[in-house]
Symmetry: C2
């Protein structure tokens, strides 16, 4: 029986709150806080109506450590699930340290003024969390998150040595809008307009954005154009599984999406450099978020499904072996269950499961951890029962390897 | 010997100031005012350096009638050349009436909150200008402006009855940027994202944006995709030449330009509806202006040329006749002469000539006039000597008719 505080009330926050409410034997007392309390209130209202579970709401500015500390002291949760903005990871970690509360997030810290995706800032908290006897779980969404768990599971059960890893992320859905991002457009566009990067033979190989393209076949979806881009779990997975010779991350994009992205860059709206306008600083990409469809609004008529998985090649008992483990998630199913589309769902469910792992003592330890450092088995079990069942294929043609 | 005041210091204002300075026998005393005086100062500095002519500068908010009146009373110009924003036509006309000064502009008034292109607001000033004994010249750029003069010239010298008019506007230039508009992007995008409209048999026929497309061949440029869109001179020309059975306006757009335009609309950045952001109202399209290249910066490496003209079919001495009158303007030539590219140049030169017509007494009369209501001959002469020479072809295949 544990009290938790969810910070952030976007689509992912909605899913986390729903899934926690469905597991009240673990999450006995659920609190939600966001800069805009009314967003929390709406989610709480929906959960009360649909699940009959009470969710408490609060207002908080997650950039402000003293404000966070005051809120945490008031609520006294055992763990904080941070599904706010990646800019706010460090302030929330600071507040956790000050108040003695476990921490879990789904995306690595990013400085606001620089699109840089790496764990260095959060890994630097290792000693502090160790000294405080607290657990910080980093990157516990789907990717990062389940992709690390899949890799750990493969390493534990199916391989003596993982040599090649391709994480493949396909959104085969259609939201019916001319253009929309599946999560916060600011974070999404920052991420995918960066140069690509993959791990090979102990080094990072940099690529131009969308330079490496391949048609990949996704279960139940079909062939989709897939592009190598950098994704943060590559950093921790290659560190935690040093036998990996090459690790890449692939994501699908349609031509129309890429055209929109190209134009958004051409017209200067992907820029994160503030412009002085009417006396205030405006970051074009942040303003663009206001004119694009709210990702939370995409659920309603979102057709199709996502498919995310790990395609792995390595050695088992001296033999070469391939392995593909993946989940497919239908946007409509996600929406019917939680009122949020599949991309929010696939991120929120693992965050809840990760919190469950900490609260039930399956995952323990003082310090800062990436998910693949923990025992994957109880997490994999929960994926099957909490809405993200996984499938595996052995010794198939992995296409990308 | 006359004193003039130019309001507006964008690319067109720059050209007007240069051309006035080149004609100091008419424009003996040149003043420039803008919201941002430093823009006027830069132009004045360039003109002083290149032509040795002194241009006085002032600061003014052209939305503010009392401020305009105070400035006009101080300067006491004979005529105001308004090359500010179309939103400001009425305030400047009001100030002219209050101070007894002639008025000339290059684009019809538009209300800020509605993309509506029509002369109604300015034509409603007819009686006031008549009563004040003042001349207001509307739409004296290239299009509107020279296109009306061309039509009046054709009617005067080459036709007994003009029946079909196609105004064809080609920018065959390449500015080397991924995307940029040739004049204020706010005004440009408002204009071209509207539904199309053309005049036929006494009625306006509405089209979807870019619905009617035809490949047209432009002198010295070649074949370009051309689209029917509404342009304001159609309203006054069809009124002043009631024999016209069909009048259309064609503009060239490349596929990349249209793709950018489509995306700008899809992502909500073409919207003129304000969004509350960080406590202030921001109009997306106005903010986009800040992230797009400054049209004034396009001159430097702008290759190629513009070609704008009128393709006319009608009757002369009982015979059917076709006639094509046009100007081609090289961006580099315009830039070398004035520091502004061809689209600014082709708008600014006619504004100067129109002012010259009023100040030298070639164009007289109390009231509000569109340019085609005046004698076109002295204006046509000046086009040849002031940088926009015209060419004519008789009885050729007009393609569009």
């Amino acid at each position: 029986m544990s009290r938790i505080l969810i910070i952030g009330a976007g689509g992912v926050g909605r899913v986390v709150a729903y899934k926690c409410a469905q597991n009240s034997e673990v999450f006995s007392d659920i609190w939600m806080a966001s800069r805009t309390q009314s967003k929390c209130d709406q989610i709480a209202k929906d959960i009360q109506a649909n699940l009959g579970v009470n969710v408490h709401t609060e207002q908080v500015d997650a950039d402000n450590v003293p404000e966070l500390v005051a809120l945490i002291k008031k609520i006294q949760p055992k763990l904080i699930i941070n599904v706010a903005l990646p800019y706010q990871d460090l302030t929330i970690m600071d507040a956790c340290l000050e108040t003695g509360v476990h921490y879990l997030d789904t995306a690595n810290y990013e400085p606001k003024d620089e699109a840089k995706f790496e764990y260095s800032w959060q890994w630097a908290y290792q000693d502090k969390f160790k000294a405080a006897g607290l657990t910080a779980v980093l990157g516990c969404g789907f990717d990062p998150g389940v992709t690390g768990i899949y890799t750990a599971y493969a390493a534990k059960h199916h391989f003596d040595e993982i040599q090649y890893l391709d994480i493949v992320d396909c959104n085969g859905g259609d939201h019916g809008k001319a253009f929309a991002t599946n999560f916060n457009p600011e974070i999404n566009i920052r991420e995918i307009t960066q140069k690509g990067k993959y791990w090979e033979n102990g080094n990072w190989v940099e690529t131009e954005p969308f330079e490496i393209k391949q048609e990949l076949n996704y279960p139940n979806i079909g062939v989709r154009d897939s592009y190598v881009l950098y994704h943060e779990e590559l950093e921790s997975i290659t560190k935690n599984f040093p036998s990996i010779k090459r690790a890449r991350f692939w994501m699908t994009f349609g031509q129309e999406y890429l055209t929109h992205l190209r134009v958004i860059q051409n017209i200067g709206m992907a820029s994160i450099v503030p412009i002085k306008y009417k006396g205030i600083d405006i970051v074009p990409l942040q303003f663009l978020k206001e004119t694009l469809p709210d990702p939370g609004s995409l659920g309603d008529n979102y057709e199709g499904e996502t498919s995310i998985g790990c395609r792995i090649k390595g050695l088992k008992d001296g033999e070469e072996k391939t392995y593909y483990v993946y989940n497919n998630c239908k946007h409509q199913d996600a929406f019917n269950e939680t009122g949020a589309q599949g991309v929010s769902y696939t991120t929120g469910v693992p965050a809840m499961i990760g919190a469950m792992m900490v609260l039930t003592g399956e995952w323990t330890g003082a310090g800062v951890f990436n998910v693949e450092e923990f025992n994957p088995d109880p997490f994999m079990d929960k994926l099957n029962t909490e809405g993200l069942p996984w499938h595996e294929q052995h010794n198939i043609d992995l296409e990308v390897l």
